[in-house]
């Protein structure tokens, strides 16, 4: 393991962490959003006359829930495309 260059270690670790992070960051919000949609469909079935209000609230709350996975995506995009660690440690 002594022949690994520090650049290789940084890039390898970053790629590994990005892969694990994008799985967690998309799977957990997807599960939560699925539960929100399930509840909203339940409400629409019970009260079809309230469907418009439920749809508006559902879309807004799904956008708010989705923003956490977007944050994960942005962090991973920064790690992959504009990695600050490489320039910091390899100067």
């Amino acid at each position: 393991m002594s022949e690994m260059s520090p650049e290789f270690i940084i890039v390898f670790t970053t790629t590994l962490v990005s892969g694990i992070g994008i799985i967690l960051g998309t799977a957990i919000p997807a599960i939560v959003e699925g539960r929100a949609v399930l509840k909203a469909l339940d409400g629409i079935i019970r009260q079809p006359e309230a469907a418009d209000d439920i749809r508006t609230t559902l879309l807004i709350s799904m956008a708010l829930l989705e923003s956490s996975s977007i944050y994960v995506l942005l962090v991973i995009l920064i790690l992959l495309f504009a990695n600050p660690l490489v320039t910091q440690f390899l100067n």
């Binding site: 209000d53 879309l59 807004i60 956008a63 923003s67 977007i70 995506l73 995009l77 495309f81 504009a82």
Partner: protein, 212 residues
């Protein structure tokens, strides 16, 4: 790395003109041209767009007078929808896939929220309501900053993820395979325009609504 940061195309009097500005100009020219053409020949279409925007805004706002906020929110929705969809034209990139455009749009929303709140309630009254339980003031400030940040980052992240995924699939199989992803990113662009407008009107409604 060149897919996230905008490229500088040329300089006008020393001011760098990036690709974002050019595609913003194209989006503005597209909106103006379509509106001028359609308003002569087929004005019912503009009425339909206006009705849709009115129903989006008034579906979120509980206020009675949504008409005074409709010019800002409607033009935000139209501009975001067009500039999200303009990325499918091959030479151009979507202006919202540069982080500066969503941050500028959400700063417009941030300042207009407080402007409408002050306009509706008066300066002292508005700040008295914002700081009404004084121990909740730090959370209020954090909430204001984070909602502005999340409004811009949500738009940016959705659009840049669509463009990146399309670019990656295009690099693998250039022929037919990116088409469903382009369709998905078009749908996501329209949906994000709706979400941005709905959240902006929700924030304005929260600032304007009377607290009891």
């Amino acid at each position: 790395m060149e897919s996230i940061t905008p490229q500088i195309i040329f300089y006008i009097f020393g001011i760098p003109i990036s690709s974002t500005i050019i595609s913003t100009w194209v989006a503005m020219a597209l909106i103006i041209t379509i509106v001028l053409l359609v308003s002569k020949s087929f004005p019912v279409a503009l009425d339909m767009i206006g009705e849709t925007l009115t129903s989006i805004v008034s579906g979120v706002m509980t206020n009675q007078d949504t008409d005074s906020y409709l010019p800002l929110l409607g033009s935000l929705a139209i501009f975001i929808a067009v500039s999200n969809s303009i990325g499918i034209i091959p030479i151009l990139t979507a202006p919202t896939s540069d982080i500066n455009t969503p941050i500028a749009l959400s700063l417009v929303v941030f300042f207009s929220v407080h402007f409408y709140g002050i306009q509706k309630k008066g300066l002292t009254n508005y700040f008295k309501e914002v700081t009404s339980p004084i121990f909740l003031l730090p959370f209020e400030i954090i909430g204001q900053i984070s909602r502005t940040l999340s409004l811009s980052l949500r738009l940016f992240g959705n659009i840049i993820s669509g463009e990146l995924i399309t670019a990656i699939v295009f690099g693998l199989i250039p022929l037919i395979a990116p088409l469903p992803l382009i369709g998905l990113s078009l749908f996501i662009g329209i949906l994000q325009a709706y979400v941005f407008t709905a959240l902006s009107s929700l924030y304005i409604d929260l600032a304007v609504a009377a607290k009891n």
